[in-house]
Amino acid sequence: MLKRKRSAQDFADEIKAHLELESDELKSEGLSEEAAHWQARRAFGNVRLAQERFYLKDRWAFLDQTVRDFRFAFRSLRQSPGFAVTAILTLALGMGANTAVFSVMNAVLLRSLPVNHPERLVFLETSDAPRGTGTIDTHETFSYPVYEALRNQKSGLSPVMAYVPLSASKVAVRYGAEPEGAEGEMVSGTFFSGLGVDLPLGRGFSRQDETDHAPLAVLSYNYWTRRFARDPAVLGKTLFVNGVPMTIVGISAEGFEGVDGGHSTDFWIPLQNRPELNAWGNPPNNGKIYTTDPTWWCLRLIARLAPGASREQAVAQLQPVFQQAAFIGLGIKMQGEKPPVLSFAAAKNFYGFEDMYAKPLHILMAMVGLVLLIALTNVVMLLMARNATRQREFSLRLALGAGRGTLFRLLLMESFLLVTAGGALAWAFALGATRILGQWAQIESSLAPDGTVLLFTLGVLALAGLLFGLAPMRVALAGKPELALKTSAATSNADAGKSRTGRIIVTLQIAMCVVLLVGGGLLIRTMRNLENTPLGMKVDGLVVFGVSPTIPSVPEGRIFYMNLINKLRMLPGVESVTIMNSRLGSWGSNNSAMLVDHRLPEGASGGSNAVRWNLAGPDFFTTLGVPVLSGRDFADSDTASSPFVGIINEEFAKQFLPNVNPLGHTFGPDNGVATMTIVGVVKDHKFRSIDESPIPMAWYMYAQIPVIGSMNVEMRLHGDPLTILPSARKVVQQMDPNLPLIKPMTQRAQFDTTISQQIMFARLAGCFGILAIVLVATGLYGSLAYRVSMRTAEIGVRMAVGARRGQVVWMILQDSLVLTAIGMAIGVPLAMLVGHALAASLYGVKPLDTVSYVLAVVGVAVVALVASAVPAGRAASVNPLTALRID
């Protein structure tokens, strides 16, 4: 049972009663009425204090106090809305940028794979694959025999799982009538169970499914949501993959989209052994596919350490198995050839993310860190300036009996309010920014902030809050109660304009601004260079798309593509049409050693003699707009029955056929199955990406090579190239209703994808640079203007005793110029360090790029000058008498 709470009034009544009783008694002891009254009061002591202690007795005093402080701080901030808005916005921008970048970093580098015990998973890697093999990646892919050997041993790793994409981009799938492209992978039967990925709906694969090459498919949760609107009825339905029917048996756990970073897998099927479902969408090589061709190292392997096994033990146990299996089907090891060496890479994170993004993200993080630092110092300066002008208010409060603790609580509460508002805005900002960042970077996994990011942000906010509370405290407490009695603002503020802390902060801000601007400048110039890199072809007017028809035999494949080219040529607006195997500007390429004039050439300067090659269709270079320097382009008349021809680039001629006319010489694959007569030499141009340097290249005519599979169609058009896509799609589907256009886009856009990361990086750096300069400019302007305004009285005195206007302005400017000079002296060497760290991310710009430095220094100088000259001029134009009478 709860007693009714006693009211404060009741307590006050009791005290009143006490005083009456006491004075009655004192009177009866012989005191006068008045004396008794005072004696009673004096004996009681502090009535108010007793009442206050009663009031606080049952309360959660701290909370009560906090609510009052909160109200008070809110009122006090509302009185200076300009200050509050500036501080909150500054904080929101600085914090928001940090939260966004940290969130990306968290998602990309720190977050683990959504699997069971990711720390026990390893990606398998090898030193260079043995001679005579073709690889997708020299260190990360393995042959099928290697996979089988590793999978069948029982110690060290259990299980070993293979996964391999069905296509380098998207594979043709059909559900219902309309064909489309999707990202699919073939995986081991143990893939889902081994990784520990749940299947909320249906089932995963079994070992038996792998052995039987069962026609089953598991959809990713994301694909199921996006394409099938989470319809549970898709289970048991058929998904045609390259025309092969697969039964959908399961949906994978939400958030699991494969183990490779950067792209998301839409569906998985067990490892297959059909030519139309070869790994990477490649056509069979002499009738062999990945399971039967031991020279093709194309599978990625991920494995779980066997219970109790350490990584070192597992490597040691598997090394001999691997080194033996590596040479299966390759014939005898060459004399002195070193066997490849197996190694493990941690599979805690998505594969490949670390290499691609670690460095740029760390640099970005450092940049936004600087931005945050600038933002924080800005707010601190704002707070100090504001509280310095409030010094008299504080003095008055102290004089009226406020404790220092009370003042401190008030300041802390104000800062808490600012930080909370700023933090909330920052969070919203970060949510939006990560979404945009994800689109720019074409990272399909979610970058949105999660719990870790929230903790990080809250941590920074808490620090900021404390800093903001403490920083102005010194100023606030510097005012003694007596100060309230002094009348002149000039005297009470005299020191504030010249405070040492203020000087240090301004100097540091200038230094940081120089660093950011130089960094931003270097990256923006890099982006410019990349965007303006000549591609060596007329890229505008080109559109590209992929087709992956089911090809029963090589002659039928040739006929298919011949018909396709001819039909597309008939479309209105089409200038020319060609096809190619590896798409330009998609990072993909084939590389191998080649015979030149029937022998293996020495690599130029003893280096690699690998040649990058591609299969091309008729009018290839004409369509691309690559100049043919001598000889001719491929033509329709080059067929399987005509003499075999090939085309090389300048670099090939320079390295392998120097000082001769290359026309009439021959080249061919190093197994000697075909020999091509060189009929043309073309100018070097970009192939894989924009930032590559020239490499020897050779082109085969597709119709003369006994390998044929998916191709990319390149069309040159008058006008907007994308407008042709609907009619091109109609043409393709008339030939085969299962065929979608795969990744149709302009060739320009395709090339841009190869520098999208650099562009994003540069754009972000540019944004942060601009953000920094805006913050620094406002901060500098604010603090310099404030410093000058604090000296108004001094200026008045100087002018009253005869200083001229120019002298006063110069005096003020001098002060700022010294700070600026010191700031730059600190900033430029720091910027050099940063430039050095950036070197790897630069293209066509040196880390000591003069233009970037000059621009940064000039930019900062201008901001600093304007920020001091304007208030100085204003101060100097004040009538000295007004200045002296300022309050």
């Binding site: 009791e14 009663a17 009783l21 002591g45 007793a50 007795k57």
Partner: protein, 123 residues
Amino acid sequence: MTTQESNDDRVALLQGTLDLLILKTLALGSCHGQGVARLIQRNSEEAFFVDHGSLYLALQRLEDKNWISAKWGVSENNRKARFYSLTPAGREQLAEKVGEWRRLARAMGLVLNSSVGPTGEEA
């Protein structure tokens, strides 16, 4: 809890003893706050002076603990006053605290009156 500077023979109340003094005073009959203060002063032969503010807070504290109860009434000289009286729980509490205090006082007395000093080292 405080002594008045002018009276040298007054002693400060030990921390926590005020509650005991109040309970003891009320054990003799119900009384209002002012009366409690006076009684404590008188029964200690003016040695204790009770700070009135502290007294009322202590009364409130004891009331909150249900050791004493209070109701408004009229004093002998016809003044309105709040009268406190001991509850059964308060009576138990008093017995306990008196016991505690006696043990403490005895122990203090024993030590202060002791005549056996350290032996050995000092010669």
